[in-house]
Symmetry: C2
Subunit: 193 residues, 2 copies
Amino acid sequence: MPKVEVFDKALVLEQATHVFHDKGYHATSMQDLVDATGLNRSSIYNSFDNKLNLFMACLKAYQTAYGNKVSNELEKATDSLEAIERLFKFYLKEIVRDTEDKGCLLVNATSEMANQEPCVTHFLNSNKEGFMTMLEELVQNGQQEGCINLDKSPKEYALYLFSSIQGLRTTAILIANKKDLQSIINITLRTII
Amino acid sequence: MPKVEVFDKALVLEQATHVFHDKGYHATSMQDLVDATGLNRSSIYNSFDNKLNLFMACLKAYQTAYGNKVSNELEKATDSLEAIERLFKFYLKEIVRDTEDKGCLLVNATSEMANQEPCVTHFLNSNKEGFMTMLEELVQNGQQEGCINLDKSPKEYALYLFSSIQGLRTTAILIANKKDLQSIINITLRTII
DNA sequence: TTTTATTTGAAATGAACGTTTCAAAATTAA
DNA sequence: TTAATTTTGAAACGTTCATTTCAAATAAAA
C-alpha cells in the first residue's frame, strides 16, 4: 500500500553534508538544504525530523565515509609505521582537494558546537575514542615491529598523533601550501620513529 | 558641546567577546550582546556599526589581551627554549581555566568563518603571520643558543609549533585531562630539543 | 540658561528563521 | 479499479533575526 521513498538518501546526505561542511551548522538554513538537496521541506522533515537531527545524520555519514577511506589506506601498508604515514598522506591529499578551505567537518563541529550541543559532544567523543583506539593499535604494533620508538606509551603517542591531525586540519584552512603542510607531517612523524 | 561616551568600551568588548567565544559568531544574537553588555541596541550600533564589526573588534581585543599575556610570559624566560616551554605552559593554564570548553576564539573563528568572511580571513592571516614571526625568532635564537636542535629551519619548526598549538586547543575541547595535555606538550617539545 | 551634539530607550522594520499544516498527487496492494 | 498510505508542494505558522527609527534624555559649550 505504501508509496515508497523515492529519493536516494545517501545522495541527499552527501549534498546536505557539503552545505554544513562549507558554511557550518548555524550559518546553514533549511532553505540552503532544500536548495542543495532538491527535496521539499516536508520530505526533509519527514525523513530527518529537524535540522539538528539531519546534521547528526550528516556527521555519521561523513564519519563512515572517512572511516572507510582510511581503512582502505591502512590496508595497503606493510607495516604499522607505513600505515601511519599513509594516514597522514591521506589527510594531506584531502586537504589539497579541499579548495574551498572547509577544513574537517568533525573538527569544525568540535569548535562550533562541542560546548553547546550535548548530542554533538557525545558523537564527537565517541569518534575520538574510536580514532584513538585505532591509533593506539597502530603505535603498539609499530613498537612491537621495531619501527616506532619506545619512548612513550601507545596511548601517549596516539593522543599526540590525534592532536597533530586536529592541528593540521585547522592550520590547513589558513595555509594552503602543500610543502609547508608536508613539512609539519615530517616533523610530527620523525618524533615517533 | 558633545555628550561624551559614558560606557567603558574595554569592558563592553570583554563582555561581548565572552559571548562570541562561548557560542560562536552565528549562534550569538544581538539580543545576547545587549543582555551581556547591558548596553542599548542603539548604543551598540552607534559604537560598532553592525554585528560583524563588533565581532572584529572582539577578535582584536582578544588578540591584544593574549599577546600581552604571552609577552609577559616570554620575558620571564632566560633562554629561548624556556620561552617556548613557558608559552605552552601558558596555553595549558588557559585551557584548564576554560571550564566551559570554549576553546580558543581565534581557532574557533578559523573553523567557523575563515572560508566565509574575507575580513575574518584577513585578520586571522595577519595574526598567523605575527605569531609565526615570534615563533621563528624564538627558534632561531634557541638554535644559536644551542638549546634547540638544527634538524629543521626556524620557519619549519615555527610552523610545526603553530600547528601543534592549534591542535592542542581543539583537542582540549574534548579532552579536559591536564595530564594528557601535558603529555602532548612534552612530546611536541622533545622534537625540537 | 540656552544652544548644540550625542546618547539613550523603546518600539517598529521587513526579512529570514525552523517548523507545521494540509490538500493534492502518487504509488502499491487488494 | 478501488482503497490505503505516503510523499509532495505550497503556503502559512509564530518567532527571532539584524538593523533602523526617532523622540526624549543628557551633558558640555556658548
